[in-house]
Homo-oligomer: 240 residues x 3
Amino acid sequence: MIVLYTDFGPGGPYVGQLHALLAQQAPGIAVIDLFHDLPRHDIRAAAYLLPAYTQGFPPGTVHVCVVDPGVGSERRALLVKADHRWYVGPDNGLFHVLARRARELECFEILWRPRQLSASFHGRDLFAPVAAQLVRGLVPASAPVAMTVPVPDWPEDLPQVLYIDHFGNAITGLRADRMVKNARLQIGDTTLTCARTFSETGAGAGFWYENSNGLAEIAINQGRASAKFNIAVGDPVRVS
Amino acid sequence: MIVLYTDFGPGGPYVGQLHALLAQQAPGIAVIDLFHDLPRHDIRAAAYLLPAYTQGFPPGTVHVCVVDPGVGSERRALLVKADHRWYVGPDNGLFHVLARRARELECFEILWRPRQLSASFHGRDLFAPVAAQLVRGLVPASAPVAMTVPVPDWPEDLPQVLYIDHFGNAITGLRADRMVKNARLQIGDTTLTCARTFSETGAGAGFWYENSNGLAEIAINQGRASAKFNIAVGDPVRVS
Amino acid sequence: MIVLYTDFGPGGPYVGQLHALLAQQAPGIAVIDLFHDLPRHDIRAAAYLLPAYTQGFPPGTVHVCVVDPGVGSERRALLVKADHRWYVGPDNGLFHVLARRARELECFEILWRPRQLSASFHGRDLFAPVAAQLVRGLVPASAPVAMTVPVPDWPEDLPQVLYIDHFGNAITGLRADRMVKNARLQIGDTTLTCARTFSETGAGAGFWYENSNGLAEIAINQGRASAKFNIAVGDPVRVS
């Protein structure tokens, strides 16, 4: 299985071009559009979401991860093997949180190059072809390397809004199983208590809960938390 | 074939998570994204659109239908067999119109539960795995049940705007074959006559017509009816 | 492979209905969503983007191209064979640029009709079934015909913004390999020089470059060109 994880947007030709390439180079393999609306160019948000949203995939899954504002620069191309799954993408911090939490980790620089490499679309020209090789059991030319570490260092969990979903729920970079049940989450002037599920709270009431991927998420039963609490991606949250 | 019918939004990650699960539990089966932008939490709109937009699918098709504001509450999970097609989703009225119009109908409560059931994402954890079982010829543990009937009762056809499409056309809950050809449709202050097709009317002219799925739809030739007539989902229409 | 190229929008249900039909009539064939957010009803923009974005597909690929404001009128349905690839869609100029640039070209009017043809959705009822026949090696009933030529004539390259992508980059109808490297591109009051890649310029600096499909594209490193330069689809550009 190949999983796509990008900030390319849900429209447009880029996602389709990845699929077209994979249909040719990895025919018959399921290709999953996991995220294409990751916050644009926000490497850190994508890095903290990555382990939460890819933890359930089977061994051997190949993830093509592209949040890559530095495409065309000298940043390296990485091939990461973490807990029996492959991740392909730029060496810009995108795999930093994943690597830190992995039990088993190997990291390689991708040396293989296609015959034609555009300056602006390595997703299509480099990362997707490498993914196609991996699912077919081939390992492209590569060399062991140490992943670039963000400077200054990133925290273990990120107390910030990383993504606002279609329902207006605000997903944070905090793992709920690291928080106590009666923790309060503060965002702006609002302090929220924990609920197990939406229907536990009254309509219109704000709360935080452990979402279906293990992250602390701010929501309103039958309402839009992002609108009511005026939340944007990047807003800090505080645990108390 | 598995058909997805949700209000999850066209962006990530929920739709991708359904696909990922189905790729594992029902490999090789076509999975169709029919609707993911149904009006959020609007059970009634989704209920009236459902029979119109799923009538053409072949016998044996399994529909995963999730407009589920009560997820995590005590609402039951349903398995509906209507005219040789399967429908899986919450017992909240979503299947009420479909059931009323079906020639053959069976309804079951789903008793099967996965090992891990999140409180907020039964689409991924319960309904999709049940769909995967059904397309593989298995019927999950379930018991005959009477579907919950909305109170107060819903009308035979719904004189309301249910969905506004990408072109600004407003799809109503009225079946066109129940209306006379010279019927007028009133929305707000505007009264519209019927046309067979867009090109029959002048550019910029508003009209209603029988859309390609049998519902009365308000449109403007080469324009946006929703903008010109200031139409929103939920607006009432009147037939005269 | 079947490639979809439409202005149907990324939300439902039209794209899903195409996929549902193709899953039944061309099972096992990869279907690629290349564009579904082409500028609405903008035949000319779609016509100039088409050769750039479909040039890389393998011989035998069938493209279903639907930007069709005249659906339901007397406009003909076309089947075009250009450089060993098939294109199916309306005879409204959509294939004009492709045809002009093709080395080998055949053009047919599609005479085949389905049993049920809606007045408003030929994509589903006519073009997709024809595509399904073509990928299965069948050629539907058709007759050689001369494609309708736009009046007044369209230029060789179109000095206009055709599409604004998810990153706010503005794709023009100018082929970069026809331009000199030190050409300047003027849009509104702004004059831009050429860069090879994003990282070549400073953050926030505007430039034009040859995009990954060969068209001249206006961008800002880590910014949104469409917002900063106030660019909309249809805006003219000037080369100097």
